[in-house]
């Protein structure tokens, strides 16, 4: 089954933790996972040494999950394409729409 996730909150919320755990469980059961990240959530995708979630995202990408984020959310936040974790798509709401229509279950956190 295809699991899509939308994450719009940043490290101020437990959402990133819950999404990570659910997505990991879904992958473990053989489901496919795609994530779209926007709003404050885009800060969580920045490649910096103190990013507590970086290893988790990398492991998802390694396990075949796709992660895209919203360029329009990144821009005013100073998150440029080059500072994202490798493998994360600097995308748009078009990518979001594709993920929504791809998903069998679409889970929104934010």
């Amino acid at each position: 089954m295809r699991f899509g996730f939308l994450l719009t909150s940043g490290c101020e919320s437990q959402d990133v933790y819950t999404v990570t755990k659910l997505a990991r469980a879904a992958l473990g059961q053989g489901h496919e996972v795609k994530m779209f990240i926007m709003g404050n959530g885009v800060h969580l995708l920045v490649d910096h040494p103190k990013n507590a979630w970086a290893e988790g995202w990398k492991a998802f990408l390694a396990d075949g999950a796709e992660i895209a984020c919203c360029g329009s959310s990144c821009e005013p936040r100073g998150v440029v394409r080059e500072c994202l974790l490798p493998g994360v798509l600097f995308g748009s709401q078009y990518d979001h729409a594709e993920i929504v229509s791809w998903s069998d279950r679409y889970l929104v956190f934010g």
Partner: protein, 85 residues
């Protein structure tokens, strides 16, 4: 048609209103996660689950059936529609 409503906020109203309305038309389940596990929420005729980690983190037992992430994902597969509030 079976639907699963995932409730995160102890003050969520609209999600419960819709769950309650739907329960007249089909099977409806609730999955309490994050701070919503703090509430002693019950709706007539609805199965209520709660994420084990979230119960443990908040030191509550609650009346809901405790599920881990694997079981939560299986619930999402078993229901035809999932809404996270």
């Amino acid at each position: 048609m079976k639907s699963l409503h995932v409730i995160r906020d102890p003050n969520e109203r609209l999600g419960l209103e819709i769950a309650s309305r739907e329960s007249g038309q089909g099977r409806v389940s609730l999955l309490l996660i994050q701070d919503a596990v703090l509430t002693r929420l019950t709706l007539d005729g609805l199965a209520v689950y709660a994420l084990a980690d979230d119960l443990e983190a908040r030191g509550v037992k609650g009346h809901a059936r405790s599920v881990d992430y694997d079981e939560a994902v299986r619930l999402m597969v078993d229901h035809d529609k999932v809404v996270v509030w």
